[in-house]
């Protein structure tokens, strides 16, 4: 057994379902365990999307508006969560500590991102569970939209990391995120629909939010012009891959910035 995989237990360790959890030896484990330990914040974080999705599906909101709202929600969760977390980590000196460890910058970036992404993914999953219960949609559409939501979270997270590489202040990060996200959501056709041709059509094809919006509309009984499960699956794989590469590349930029 290698040093890195050794599991050390002690009586002081937190327990889950009666089992002692191993000590966190990887950064993503440490970050995730920290998030799970903030129980009240975690409950609020998980309840927040439910507060939005339950009224939408139970009141029969028009799919176009419901899809738009849920896509904006996913985009905000991914960007704000990552961007604000990283800027705070820099302000507290946490990134300074991570930067002088013998860990490659790309790995630090990926692990910081991954820990937040797991919780964000749980939020998105809860949204889709509510939709699945209320709407009984086609399983293929449900599964591919879920994958799209996860890839959109990765894409948003990568944007959040990029913003975090530019500023040291959480409040400033929020402003930058809004400035970047608003046009991306508009170009994804969330507010006006995707036009049948022209530049805006092609721009929408390279943004995950347009696919996710169509996926939500399909699940909620709408009839968007372009959506089908196969294109969702391909888009989800591509955006997930692109986001992971971007996240690894941004790791160096995040650590290079000195608070």
């Amino acid at each position: 057994m290698t040093e890195r995989s050794q599991v050390v237990m002690d009586r002081s360790q937190p327990r889950m379902a009666g089992l002692a959890l191993p000590r966190p030896t990887q950064l993503w484990q440490l970050e995730l365990r920290g998030t799970l330990a903030r129980r009240r914040a975690l409950v609020i974080k998980l309840a927040f999307p439910l507060v939005l999705v339950i009224p939408l599906v139970t009141t029969g909101a028009p799919p176009f508006f419901a899809g738009m709202l849920l896509t904006v929600l996913i985009a905000m969760v991914g960007t704000v969560g990552t961007g604000v977390t990283i800027t705070r980590a820099r302000g507290s000196g946490w990134l300074d500590r991570l930067a002088v460890l013998p860990l490659p910058a790309w790995r630090v970036g990926l692990e910081l991102f991954f820990a937040g992404w797991l919780v964000d993914a749980l939020q998105a999953t809860l949204v889709l569970v509510v939709i699945a219960i209320a709407e009984r949609p086609d399983p293929a559409t449900l599964a591919t939209t879920w994958l799209l939501a996860l890839s959109a979270l990765s894409f948003s997270g990568a944007i959040g990391l990029g913003i975090a590489a530019l500023t040291d202040h959480a409040g400033e990060a929020m402003v930058y995120l809004s400035v970047v996200l608003a046009p991306l959501l508009f170009l994804s056709g969330l507010f006006t629909g995707v036009p049948a041709g022209g530049l805006r059509y092609w721009v929408a094809q390279i943004l995950p939010f347009s696919y996710l919006d169509e996926g939500f509309q399909l699940l909620l009984g709408g009839n968007p012009p372009y959506g089908d499960p196969l294109s969702f699956l391909i888009a989800a794989i591509i955006f997930l891959s692109v986001s992971l590469v971007a996240t690894a590349a941004l790791g160096r930029a995040i650590l290079a910035r000195t608070a």
């Binding site: 040093e3 440490l30 365990r33 920290g34 000196g93 002088v100 460890l101 013998p102």
Partner: protein
Amino acid sequence: MNDLSLTKPWLAAAGLSRRYRNGRGVGPVNLTVGPGEVQALVGPNGSGKTTLLRCLATRTRPNSGELTWFGDGDRQAARAKLAVVFDATAHADELSARQNLAFFATARKVRSDLWEPALEEAAVAELGGDPLARLSYGMRRRVLLAEALVGDPPLLLLDEPTLGLDVSGCQWLAEALRIRARTGLATCISTNDTDFVEQVATRVCFLVDGEAVRDAPLSELLAELGGTREVQLSYRGPSPISAVRVIEGVDRAAEAEGGLLILARQRDGLLPDILATLGDLDLHLVDLKVRDPGLADCFLRLTGRALHD
């Protein structure tokens, strides 16, 4: 430590400079730290100590100059052999000392059987299962130091290591560093805690406004103060500094810590002369202390400025 060079310095800076856009920063500085040495970087606030330490710790890239660790300029390779304590006590505060230390020790590939002894050495093992957010600042600083000391890294870089520590904490840390120095580990400390530096340092570099004004063995610096005395005055009223400076034997005088710090050659009648001078002025003497001079007096003598404003 078998793979570490004993002929080259473990940390070497040549002409190292890191200046910010406003002109503040540090350098050029030349510095070497060899095995078994404890190098202290001493200077008042804003003198560039922390900037220099951050460069030495691979955190900040210098604008110019050469920096090597164990004879190699590779920053990533250096990180495997050094441990750093910055002034911020950043942790995963919801988790325990054991959990935090497990992560940092694993990242530095420290054997797991050394984790608990490190917490015991820092006297935090008893509280090692409590969330750090519930511990006092001083205890969290001890955890931070335990995370750096675990596994005895060949090179330790500590920024304000005594920050938040009580007397026993400072004594523990001084002893821990002395023991490690005897076994050949190298340490670089940035601080203006001169009492601590006198306990552990083998060499001291004084920094003023980003410039290294003196770098010498501690023993040499203290020897230069032979035959002098430090007099500390607390008073209410106008500053007596001009009058004190012309007293026979007074070498340096500077405003410090709400009073006056005087460095003077030891001679008969020195104190009566000081008291007589003060008596001629319209001020109320609150306190007067006389003691053997220390590192802070070295700084005063060298720069004409008090280390602690």
